[in-house]
């Protein structure tokens, strides 16, 4: 969003603007034209957390890795000494790196947990590339990506994986294994709860065949604890495979900080001025561990993860932050209906509406953390708690071609049509909402459960499945095909085959979910 968002005092972004960026960009692990650090021998296994890329553009990408020879070192520094390390990167047109297209260096620094976020530029649009990092003689795993199509280009198809709610301790990431093997895949969208902050104890460690030490048994509150939590989750080989396979973009929900926190407020009674310190370290750890652009680097407890991009003229993606700027939970039903209540905050709301209004794309995709569709009035953590804000969003969607909302949060696959006005069943549909189930959260699950009637009571809700899995979208100028995949178990091991739970077609110009 929001170059227009006023930066808080002592803004690092302001420093960047003021200093011409060079020194700060080097310090931030983005670019280091000359070797900045000693090349002392480093321990083996520097790339144990894999590689990733994101923030896609037609001419480039942000590449990511975090050096961690001992990823589960309890101080959160991954076994690295407190020194800077120069990391080289290469981008090539072939996986053997014979045709190098771009190269550069970044500085891995202890202040960012030895994560680097170089942005490679000057690439060709709609072109496949391979990338890897190296330090000394150690090479990282090879990642790959396809740059976005050129602005306004005609695009035949674009495929997206959607995942959420990665409670590592509840089960194996079998869904990621299958997603990484998808034949058609251009992007993965994480729609929240990439990590969970809860302590991992006997009672919630349902992933069989693993053990965790005492440092994981407490709720994450400090930077070292959040860093350690990301390292634990990102140690999963299937998650690493997804990241290496395609670019990733992400929005957060609550568990990247604390269950049910909202705005700047804790859900457990910690005063706001204190809780800001926890938000600051949690947001920092999110930046350090994701392939994000510089704009997402937090400034204290303020961060900006909202962003967007176009896939030629086929699709416009807009990533929303439904956690940081929302109003408090309603105090009573009257408060819940107050027209000025906001989920996105005024600036983000205007920005999102503008992106919908100006869109040249056939498909307009909004990724957000919580369910938009009206389900029950007591689900106040979802847009149900913000009905007036939802109506404004639906009104904005009504003015754009083919809106599609991508959501996570509920640990269930749900496919629903979005009515123009949920208080008027005859108001027609303005879009569809595709809610992906969790990768791990809630363990094996079952197709139906106690929550099923709440969702399927509505005619506009077309599908419900309570098992783990992922969502696959294939967009073409003519239609959107959404495939809801599940796996029948995740707790015992990662061998469950993928099953198709449901598939829908949404024709362009006709916002319905038609079973396919």
């Amino acid at each position: 969003m929001p170059a227009s968002v006023a930066p808080a005092p002592v803004s690092r972004r302001r420093l960047l603007q003021a200093s011409g960026a060079s020194a700060a960009v080097i310090a931030l692990g983005i670019r280091a034209p000359q070797a900045q650090a000693e090349t002392a021998p480093q321990p083996e296994g520097l790339f144990s957390l894999g590689v990733a890329c994101g923030a896609p553009r037609p001419d480039g990408m942000v590449l990511w890795t975090r050096l961690a020879p001992e990823p589960l070192a309890e101080d959160g520094h991954g076994g690295m000494e407190g020194k800077d390390v120069t990391v080289r990167w290469h981008v090539a047109k072939d996986p053997e790196f014979r045709q190098i297209t771009a190269r550069g260096q970044a500085l891995a620094q202890p202040a960012l947990a030895h994560a680097v976020h170089p942005r490679v530029e000057g690439l060709e649009p709609a072109t496949d590339y391979f990338y890897r990092f190296s330090v000394g003689r150690q090479n990282s795993p090879v990642g790959r990506f396809r740059t976005l199509p050129a602005e306004g280009a005609e695009v035949e198809s674009f495929s997206v994986g959607v995942v959420s709610c990665q409670a590592w301790y509840h089960g194996h990431f079998t869904a990621h294994k299958h997603l990484a093997a998808e034949e058609e895949l251009d992007l993965v969208v994480f729609v929240g709860d990439y990590i969970y902050e809860y302590g991992i104890t006997e009672s919630n460690l349902w992933r069989q065949g693993v053990e965790v030490g005492p440092a994981h048994q407490v709720e994450a509150e400090t930077l070292e604890q959040y860093r350690l939590r990301y390292a634990l989750f990102k140690s999963d080989p299937h998650l690493q495979a997804v990241h290496a396979r395609v670019p990733a973009v992400a929005v957060w929900d609550d568990h990247e900080v604390q269950n049910d926190y909202l705005g700047g407020s804790s859900s457990t009674g910690v005063p706001d001025d204190l809780f800001a310190h926890r938000i600051a370290v949690a947001y920092r750890a999110f930046y350090e561990n994701m392939p994000l652009d510089l704009e997402a680097l937090p400034d204290g407890p303020d961060s900006d993860i909202t962003t967007g991009f176009d896939v030629g003229n086929l699709a416009r993606l807009t990533l929303l932050d439904t956690r940081q700027f929302r109003d408090p939970a309603p105090t009573d039903p009257e408060d819940q209906q107050r027209p000025e209540r906001s989920m996105l905050g005024a600036e983000q709301e205007e920005w999102a509406s503008d992106r919908l209004a100006d869109s040249p794309a056939t498909w307009n995709i909004l990724a957000n953390g919580v369910v938009v569709a009206a389900i029950t009035e007591d689900r106040v953590d979802m847009w149900d708690g913000y009905p007036a804000a939802r109506q404004r969003l639906l009104d904005a969607m009504a003015g754009a071609p083919n809106p599609v909302v991508l959501t996570g949060d509920i640990h269930r696959h749900v496919a629903t049509e979005l009515l123009a006005d949920f208080s008027d069943p005859g108001s027609g549909t303005v879009g569809v909402e595709l809610i992906c189930t969790s990768v791990g959260s809630d363990g094996d699950g079952a197709k139906t459960d106690a929550n099923t009637p709440d969702w399927l009571q509505h005619e506009y809700v077309k599908h419900y499945d309570g098992r783990r899995g992922y969502l696959h979208l294939r967009l073409t100028p003519e239609e959107l095909v959404s495939s809801f995949y599940i796996v029948e178990w995740v707790e015992a091991d990662d061998t469950a085959p993928k099953l198709l739970s449901a598939r829908f077609t949404t024709p362009a110009g006709d916002s319905r979910l038609i079973p396919a």
Binding site: A111, A113, S267, G269, H277, R278, D299, G300
Partner: protein, 282 residues
């Protein structure tokens, strides 16, 4: 980004019941503070340079509560330092000594008690998580408990619901504690009310003795987890304990039967740790 954090300043120790609250000045955002480390030694002697063997805890907040101290009172001396995002440690603060406030549960003579003053709800009825049964078992929103007849595990539910609790009919519940005194109280008495947790709603716990208003206790904002978890003394438990000890106004208690009534008049439930009546010694 990788500068060494400043020394911690403004360290202050605030005495409380069975705990000492430490606060200090926040250090800003650059460098980002990974966490603060709190070092403590018993007594009034300064710990000198921080020794990892004296590490009491770590926190991201410029505040730390040293809990589970002896209710009779303890004295500790503290130093705090900051660790930056790069793992660099700042200088430790000056030493600060604090003494916890003695509790009547340690200094007084116990007259009567429900539950154990131990930071846990576990010995109470329906603990640690069967709160929904309270609405079923007490449809009139009144809990009666007779000292010497009833037992905490069967007659004193671990939660007292309030108007903010939809699951309990959004009703102010009352818990009535009947106890018999052998004679007219000769010494001042104190009422100890220890809570294992409260809700994010806070509220008012109204105390009446023999139908006369005694106090409205303003409830602190709690974690709202005490309805599902019963042990606030576990490491990193989210439960937010609170301690309330009130002197009984003279003449309120009488020889024979007395009724001390707790009403959750506003807000959400309290999770009891224990309640007790104590006579002052000497």
């Amino acid at each position: 980004m990788s500068s060494t954090p400043d020394a911690v300043t403004g360290l202050t120790a605030h005495p409380a019941l069975a705990s000492i609250e430490l606060t200090w000045d926040p250090l800003g955002w650059d460098p980002l503070i990974d966490h603060f480390r709190i070092y403590a030694v018993a007594g009034e002697a300064s710990p000198g340079e921080p020794d990892e063997a004296d590490l009491l805890g770590k926190t991201v907040y410029p505040r730390f509560v040293h809990v589970d101290l002896d209710p009779a009172g303890e004295t500790w001396t503290y130093r705090v330092l900051a660790v930056s995002d790069a793992g660099l440690r700042g200088e430790a603060s000056d030493a600060m000594t604090g003494t916890s406030q003695p509790s009547v549960t340690a200094t007084g003579r116990e007259i009567a008690r429900i539950g154990d003053f131990d930071g846990r709800t576990l010995e109470l009825h329906l603990a640690p998580s069967s709160y929904e049964q309270i609405a079923v078992d007490y449809p009139d929103a009144v809990i009666e408990y007779e000292q010497g007849v009833d037992e905490p595990g069967t007659a004193w539910p671990y939660l007292l619901p309030g108007p903010g609790d939809a699951w309990a009919g959004s009703t102010a519940h009352r818990a009535r504690w009947t106890l018999t005194l052998d004679g007219e109280p000769s010494a001042p008495h104190d009422l100890a009310i220890w809570l294992a947790d409260t809700t994010r709603l806070g509220g008012i716990l109204r105390v009446r003795v023999n139908e006369e208003a005694m106090a409205d206790i303003e409830l602190p904002t709690g974690s709202t987890r005490g309805s599902r978890e019963g042990d606030a003394t576990l490491p990193d438990s989210p439960l937010l304990r609170s301690f309330h000890e009130l002197e009984m106004p003279e003449g309120l208690l009488q020889s024979g039967e007395n009724v001390i009534e707790f009403e959750l008049a506003e807000g959400g439930w309290v999770a009891w740790d224990a309640v007790g009546l104590f006579a002052r010694e000497g």
